[in-house]
Symmetry: C2
Subunit: 363 residues, 2 copies
Amino acid sequence: MKVGAEDRRTLQPIPGEDGVDIIDQRQLPHALVLARLRTLEEVAVAIREMWLRGAPLIGVAAAYGLCFALRKDPSDASMDSAIAVLRATRPTAINLAWALAQVDSVVRPLAPAQRCDAAFAKAKALADADAEQCHAIGEHGFTLLRQLCDWKQGKPLQILTHCNAGWLATIDWGTALAPVYLAHRAGYPVHVWVDETRPRNQGASLTAWELGQEGVPHTLIADNAGGLLMQRGQVDACIVGTDRTTREGDVCNKVGTYLKALAAHEHGVPFLVAAPSSSIDWTLRSGVDIPIEERDPGELLSTTGRTANGRMETVLTAPAGTRAANPAFDVTPAKFVTRLVTERGVCEAKEKGLLSLFPERAP
Amino acid sequence: MKVGAEDRRTLQPIPGEDGVDIIDQRQLPHALVLARLRTLEEVAVAIREMWLRGAPLIGVAAAYGLCFALRKDPSDASMDSAIAVLRATRPTAINLAWALAQVDSVVRPLAPAQRCDAAFAKAKALADADAEQCHAIGEHGFTLLRQLCDWKQGKPLQILTHCNAGWLATIDWGTALAPVYLAHRAGYPVHVWVDETRPRNQGASLTAWELGQEGVPHTLIADNAGGLLMQRGQVDACIVGTDRTTREGDVCNKVGTYLKALAAHEHGVPFLVAAPSSSIDWTLRSGVDIPIEERDPGELLSTTGRTANGRMETVLTAPAGTRAANPAFDVTPAKFVTRLVTERGVCEAKEKGLLSLFPERAP
């Protein structure tokens, strides 16, 4: 997607495969800082310290980390050790282990001298596959948005999103925002209401930034404002991502998603969820069984940003010593989800709907 | 209410009536700073620059400002000029004009030499009446909470509140928090989930502070978290204040209130609104007719708090130049309000319910 005048991916191999350039997302939205990663150790630090985040992006970055290790030493021992180091960076990210296993399965059978090239080829294939999958979600979602646009008769389609399910979380295009980008590039007038997304402010810092770079009109709002906007008829559709989708269509996403889904339901606003197949947990029926990550309460007690002097500072907003709870996700029951948008197409948020797109998962 | 070991009101006359002491709320929650106001000009600055806020508190402070002016010069011209100065400090606060009119009506008929004492007596009466009204709301609300407590069989009653409708907004007790304080003082186990209340963070900075001073167990949460907590059965009741209540029981309160009401309704959680009669607009039937204040978008784009070094700083969290919308209130339709709690008692959020308590308002 666009950054300034340039088209970028979140992770770009450098010609000659000496390394990859990533966007250091800790600096966003205040500065665009690229970081060049050339070694296993550099990749591990970048993942662990959240220079990059988003499950698909982490997976591809880890795959490149393994490439760098194999370039230095293509032995089995080197490969095993690199995989262990990378898996330990963010132990809960499923994509990370999956991506490493993908590279492993291609490379392991080869003679050591052939491994490095094969690993780089596989890492590139994983990156391309992620971008294609996101683009496919974009096309299917765009079909829905186009219908809504037609009803607006030339007035901008008003879309509300929560958190960041944009290209910064993936290699390119994003999930929830991919349909928005395609609609915008096709010349349909769209405007995005961006939820700030407390406590980590991913909407304010990431979604607002990437929409701005791409030139998509948008307005930042407090997470509290969405109900009022829907009451007033100022939202035509909500579209969000998902961290985990159950077999019956319940959706686990960033905390606060559920409140927006309730308001959308009350006001007849379509509530769309961009769900790549990698997010679908076919072993789970109900979202109530999904464990919810409790994060550091400090994220809520203080806020980090840039002062007028350009310094980064963290400020405390609550009384010192206040107890806080910081659950990171909530579950939106399938009955509040109007449609799921996958890379294979659009379906109802029901087992029947998902199986119509993924028949190989039928019992 | 308690501040440290001491019992305080938000505004306290100094013995001998040389002035009043207020809490400079701009410094909360990081420091308790008292300010002594002795002149009309000092009161006007304190109201205009929001050293104090909350409609009832502003009204009483203005009444004392008028007292100070009359002590210096009890002439009609002095009184007219002081009223004009005070009314201009916060032009939209209805209580402010009402409190000034109350003092005016008592003082104006008197000879100049008698005016000062009469004004101080009236200002004190207004303060006492506000505290009594809040205490009455507390008692009626406590009756409801006690029933809920009985069902909990000794486990803490879990109460969620949004924004600050505590004693800092009034002279004492508060509105929404008054029942909580009475329950706590009566020895009932209560725990309050405190919504941060973006973008001005009144929950984090004021509600958490006053609950802490009074020793009421509480936990700060992101505004996004309430839906999840109700899903999990971790909220037994919501209780909030109201800025304006219609004849038919619609409630206009801090933006985000409506989203909590929707979740409470979905999960069968009682949603209580503390509504002093001064908040009831008998001329309005439906909340959709209430104009919603749009505040400075800057409140959303940046956050003010205390750094680890003890400095107050304001940090930007969104890309520079981001467009933001900052509606300050939303409207919760009466059908989502379980009960209104007024100083005269508890009623259904319906015209019939309100008229049962305020029969003089019947058509």
